[in-house]
Symmetry: C2
Subunit: 206 residues, 2 copies
Amino acid sequence: MYSVDKYPSKILQEAVEAIGSLPGVGSRSALRLALHLLGQPADHIHHFTEAINRLSDEIHYCKTCQMVSDTDQCPICADHTRDARTICVVESVRDVMSIEATGMYRGVYHVLGGIISPIDGIGPSDIHIRELVERIEGMDADTEIILALSGDVEGETTSLYIYRQIEGKGVKVTTLARGLGFGDDLEYADTLTLGRSLTSRQPFKP
Amino acid sequence: MYSVDKYPSKILQEAVEAIGSLPGVGSRSALRLALHLLGQPADHIHHFTEAINRLSDEIHYCKTCQMVSDTDQCPICADHTRDARTICVVESVRDVMSIEATGMYRGVYHVLGGIISPIDGIGPSDIHIRELVERIEGMDADTEIILALSGDVEGETTSLYIYRQIEGKGVKVTTLARGLGFGDDLEYADTLTLGRSLTSRQPFKP
């Protein structure tokens, strides 16, 4: 006797399970997405899966800054109009995209590819800190390393770890300004941010 | 001069666009999912894409009920302990799964693969109504067609259209009972549901 073990088709079930393995995609969403794909023409599905396969088969990482790239050198490192002596250290390519979107940065990047997080089992050797240390070897005080990591415990820990690795190498190390965001209300700012904003107060520029 | 056209890699960009073409997946989620996949081992990615490719390359539709299946006949139609003279007409395989989950239905199904929706350009010939009409050809008054479509305008329209196609063929046509859900409060029921619940009132069974 047939008993519906949830799915009438093993092929459908395996597709749902594959989609449901993505972070933040529940089993109902996965079924909805699988049925959507099922209703698409074959060439659309193949286009979809080829685009994803290329992520593993054709992607490169920039040999200088470790950013995801189509070639051995990413377009930012290859751009000689950018200041190669200002290196912004970020967690991921997402952060690069956020900073590039500001249009206010003309230096280059170093993408760690993660953040030190003992709770997730990610230690210093799991991210590209060694490559950063090697990269600044021989650079001088004209070089600035901007630690642009997130303001949470993992970000602060990673910043401190990197600082310990590169202090004494003769390069300048800075970090992002923390403070009130533009348009923020004092009343609703958390005490840590407001406190840091006070102690890091800056000359008023009219 | 390099200008970040959002993505440092065309391969990444195309993967994000492919994932973002899924319904309900925004561009931020698509980037998050693409970067997640990027961090996975190659064989994991290939397993993922193969499962999806099989949706177009290996899936079958049951020749009797049009349900997605791994073979030419779905496991429900192939199950001879089920009552082939009770045919439940549903929109999609999702509805089959919902009804099967109740464990209270022993008949078979007919999957329309959609619902009549002029606004989405879906007419009667785009869904499996013709197959249903052919299927009940020669069946008699022992056959019951249960129209189990959703209670919205499209569902009601489709039910009515199907009814017009099969009335006079000698088969019994029923539809799902509409009324208050179990545990529903009268106070919070919408007037249409409460009204229908009243006019379709049933003998009290203690």
